[in-house]
């Protein structure tokens, strides 16, 4: 019984030490890899989208509206916008889905007119996001 207890204790002592050494070494390697390849890793795991500034205009009546490219509007009458926020060391861009309200007017070939107030400083995603599974609030990169 005593021998059995000693054997079990020895097992935990040896494998406990090995486990802690492995975890420590793995964490250190992670820090080194992230330092050297952090930028590349971020570019690799973050999806990139094309976006441009929305055009603002005002009618004679004083009504403000936004012009959005037709290709930016989804089938659900929403549009994806990119909002920037300050991160620790860089600007972080997040995607947000906004429901739009069309302005009743004559057909405009360059885009659609909406009266929805978009977040200030946002960019409108101009490509179709059907293939990419992007959730609201997810980080993206802007294509140059």
């Amino acid at each position: 019984m005593e021998k059995e207890k000693k054997r079990v204790r020895g097992f935990y002592k040896i494998w406990g030490k090995r486990f802690s050494v492995i975890v420590t070494a793995a964490f250190f390697l992670l820090l080194v890899v992230c330092t050297l390849f952090g930028e590349k890793l971020y570019t690799w795991i973050t999806p990139s989208v094309s976006a441009l500034m929305p055009k603002m205009a005002m009618y004679e009546s004083g009504e403000k509206y936004t012009q959005i490219p037709k290709r930016a509007v989804t089938a659900k009458d929403t549009v994806y916008v990119v909002i920037s926020e300050a991160g620790f060391s860089r600007k972080i861009y997040r995607i947000k889905e906004v429901e739009i309200e069309y302005r009743e007017s004559e057909e405009d070939p360059s885009g659609v007119l909406v009266t929805t107030r978009l977040p200030q400083g946002c960019l409108i995603v101009t490509e179709s996001l059907e293939g990419k599974c992007l959730k609201d609030g997810e980080k993206v990169l802007l294509k140059k």
């Binding site: 992230c34 330092t35 890793l41 971020y42 620790f88 860089r90 972080i92």
Partner: protein
């Protein structure tokens, strides 16, 4: 008697928990993000999205390692000098060392600042490293350890060789290995946690700041991961050398 011992054991266990619980909570909370229970999202955000935090981590590593190595290399011969070499004014000079060791950082702040300013080293990495490289505490501890070595051993060695370096390397150093390791841990921890020196001697150059100062600027949602990364080297060092550290502190005579 057994009951009394158990009572003390329970009390010390509770006290130990009071120290341990914040550390454990920090590590456990670093695996949470928003509503998710266990996730590595905080580490992903900290190490990949805002990976420049790691620049400050490596700044801290550079300062701590450089300061530790130079401090030990400088303090060891000085400790030997105060312990074993008789010269005029030795005891008075050692008394001055003890007084400087007991002074708070704020008392030596102005002379250090003026010295660094006149040497045009402010806002450079040397401003952060030089004041900590010459530590009276390390000299004091080495002196106490080396004083335990018998004079006859040193005299016998001096008969064989005239070189003080050989004496230190082949005789004194093997007998003070535990002191070396214990001091290395102490000096590393002190230089890892420096904040005041950075804010005063390198306030205008953020590029050279260590992680101890930048920790306060990490975004809130990744604070716990940042704190865990910050704790990691010190925890590893202590876990590796805790036996040596406690043995050398037991041996040490104040």
């Amino acid at each position: 008697m057994k009951r009394k011992k158990r009572g003390w054991a329970v009390l010390f266990f509770v006290l130990a928990l009071l120290y341990l619980v914040p550390v454990l909570m920090t590590i456990l909370k670093s695996f949470r993000y928003g509503e998710s229970a266990i996730t590595l999202q905080q580490y992903m955000e900290l190490l990949i999205t805002d990976y420049t935090v790691l620049r400050y981590f490596w700044n801290s590593v550079f300062y701590a390692v450089s300061i530790t190595i130079v401090c030990l290399c400088v303090s060891f011969p000085l400790g030997f000098l105060f312990a074993k070499v008789k010269f005029l004014g030795r005891d008075a000079l050692f008394f001055v060392y003890i007084v400087v060791m007991l002074l708070p950082f704020q008392a030596t702040l102005l002379p250090n600042y003026i010295g660094l300013r006149d040497m045009k080293l402010l806002n450079t990495p040397y401003a952060l490293m030089l004041p900590l490289m010459f530590s009276p505490l390390a000299v004091f501890l080495f002196r106490q350890f080396i004083a335990e070595i018998e004079d006859s051993v040193l005299e016998y060695t001096m008969l064989e060789t005239n070189s003080v370096f050989r004496l230190l390397w082949y005789v004194v150093f093997p007998q003070t290995k535990e002191a070396f390791l214990a001091l290395a841990v102490l000096v590393f921890c002190e230089s890892w946690n420096m904040v005041e020196q950075v804010m005063i001697f390198a306030a205008k150059n953020k590029e050279i700041w260590p992680l101890s100062v930048m920790l306060g600027q990490i975004p809130e949602d990744v604070t716990y991961a940042g704190a865990t990364v910050y704790m990691y080297p010190v925890l590893v060092l202590f876990l590796c050398f805790r036996n040596v550290f406690s043995k050398s502190m037991e041996k040490f005579k104040w």
